[in-house]
């Protein structure tokens, strides 16, 4: 039972810790694979969350953006140690590594899984979360399973992991084929979508990029808030893709999720329905999002949002 850990110089991604929770529940002997800069720094945390061994390398070649080197290195590890399952996060890197690994190992690959009842069976939500399927996995080991974010809670159980250094395996044609010319960090003047306690999301009902200013103002009044968007608003070009919440885009589970002008198409619902409390403001009394909401408001968001901002300012004194 292995998990793939997304690591960076900033540390290990919480997705790895979530996967460890699941992996421990299935088998005692859990291996974690951490490849790339920041890998060795992640060992302690991975061990604390239940990894018995961490296969690790900080080699710079693993940082190349295609994940080819990582996939071939992992393939060699898999061939050597024959794990039954490798769990991946549904992250940029997780998908790239798993997809490439599948081509090499000819294993089965299950995407969008939310649970793994046994090593041969994965559970997934399909059709926008309306339907749950369980799928029997067959074919050559290991089964590759991509878990949706936040499917499990990270749990620190105490423990230390053995470190297994890994030799980098270069794919045919060498490592550094794709060059990174520039890198821009995402603007970090606020919490990320995944990390915020409150997520305010806007959809087509906001009418245009200007509508998102209403959310921003409300967010400033609340604090610890991130702004998200439905696919409709992203497709319309109002806000960048990075703000998209849904099947494509981020999955969020904040304390409060407020959807303004979002109908709540399946595609969107998948990314937010795990939120603790859901507030939806929409003009459409038939909007599916009202089915998900703890508090659904049918009305004009251009009146409700400014009034709410005013009310929050009054209460918080911001």
């Amino acid at each position: 039972m292995w998990i793939w850990a997304d690591v960076s110089p900033e540390g290990v991604a919480s997705s790895a810790l979530e996967l460890l929770t699941k992996a421990r529940a299935i088998g005692n002997d859990v291996g974690a694979v951490a490849l790339g800069s920041g890998a060795s720094g992640a060992v302690d945390q991975l061990g604390e969350h239940g990894a018995a061994r961490v296969y690790t390398s900080d080699d710079q070649r693993l940082a190349e953006p295609t994940s080819r080197v990582a996939a071939h290195t992992l393939a060699a590890l898999v061939a050597e140690h024959s794990p039954g399952v490798v769990l991946f996060p549904s992250s940029y890197r997780g998908r790239d590594v798993a997809g490439r690994l599948q081509a090499i190992t000819a294993s089965t690959l299950m995407a969008n899984a939310v649970d793994l009842p046994s090593i041969d069976r994965a559970r997934a939500e399909i059709l926008g979360g309306t339907t749950i399927v369980e799928v029997d996995l067959a074919g050559p080991a290991p089964h590759l399973v991509l878990m949706r974010p936040r499917s499990f809670e990270p749990e620190a159980v105490g423990g230390t992991a053995d470190v297994v250094p890994v030799d980098v395996v270069e794919p045919p044609g060498g490592a550094a084929v794709v060059q990174v010319l520039e890198r821009t960090e995402a603007a970090s003047d606020g919490p990320t979508l995944e990390g915020a306690k409150v997520v305010l999301a806007g959809g087509r009902g906001l009418g245009g990029p200007d509508g998102f200013r209403l959310l921003q103002e409300l967010g400033d009044a609340i604090g610890d808030t991130a702004i998200g968007a439905s696919r409709a608003a992203v497709d319309a070009g109002w806000v960048p893709y990075a703000m998209q919440i849904g099947q494509t885009g981020s999955t969020v589970k904040p304390e409060v999720y407020l959807a303004a002008g979002i109908s709540g198409a399946l595609q969107h619902a998948v990314g937010m329905k795990g939120s603790r409390r859901i507030v939806a403001i929409t003009k459409d009394p038939e909007a599916p999002i009202l089915q998900l909401a703890d508090l659904g408001v049918v009305g004009d968001l251009f009146q409700v949002l400014p009034a709410l901002t005013e009310e929050v300012r009054r209460r918080t004194g911001r």
């Binding site: 998908r95 309306t130 067959a138 010319l181 995402a186 409060v256 508090l295």
Partner: protein, 256 residues
Amino acid sequence: MNIAVLVKWVPEPQGTPTLGPDHLLVREGADGALDPGDEYGLERALQLVERDGGEVTVVSMGPEVAVAAVQRGLAMGADRGVLVTDDTVRGADALVTARVLAAAIRPIGVDLVVAAVESTDGYTGTLPVTVAELLALPSVTFATSLDIVDGSHVRAERQTAAGAEVVSSPLPALVTVTTGVAEPRYPSLKGVMAAKTKPLDRPSLAGLGLAADDVRPSQTVASVEAAPLKAGGRVIEAGPETAAEIADLLAEARVI
């Protein structure tokens, strides 16, 4: 410049898809269309070929009705189409699909393969890189912009977990694109008519050199059930008290 664009026919891209008794998405008989998410990459490929010269081939695997998706691609301006239809690959998983698509692309001799980040109905999101690995191509995923430089490199901006990066890859390569990469054109009627006379290749699995073992699915659906619905929510008409009610909820959640 030869560009292959992976496209997919999806049932009811705007509606609610349904599962058949065999636990597979109902594709036959459903109203379907070219996956709208595929049009962005196709548009960009067409733009690049219009600028630099070359050909665009749309490549797809799917049921007979998927001809419509390929025709749509041709109507938008692609030069040729390849569609693999075979009953044995109905319900194919990602690996089988990737093998079929890779086999269909190989003979074209492409410089660039473009695909959407993921399909609108399946959302696996790993298929393109699997194809890239099978074809031993470098890949750039989640590209928000795509350009070809000097006819030898692709330059793309891509999203990453940390933010964004600009990368350069030698050709041939595979790139997956998001919706931001181009604004898809609406095919003119002239384009629709021209599409009917464009070459559409319908290779068989054997013709692509695939054996039965290569296309045996590794997944079977064991059970299907409806997800539980959320209960206990209430819906109100907006009124003078609405702001206070929402603020109460925020306070209850201790976020203000």
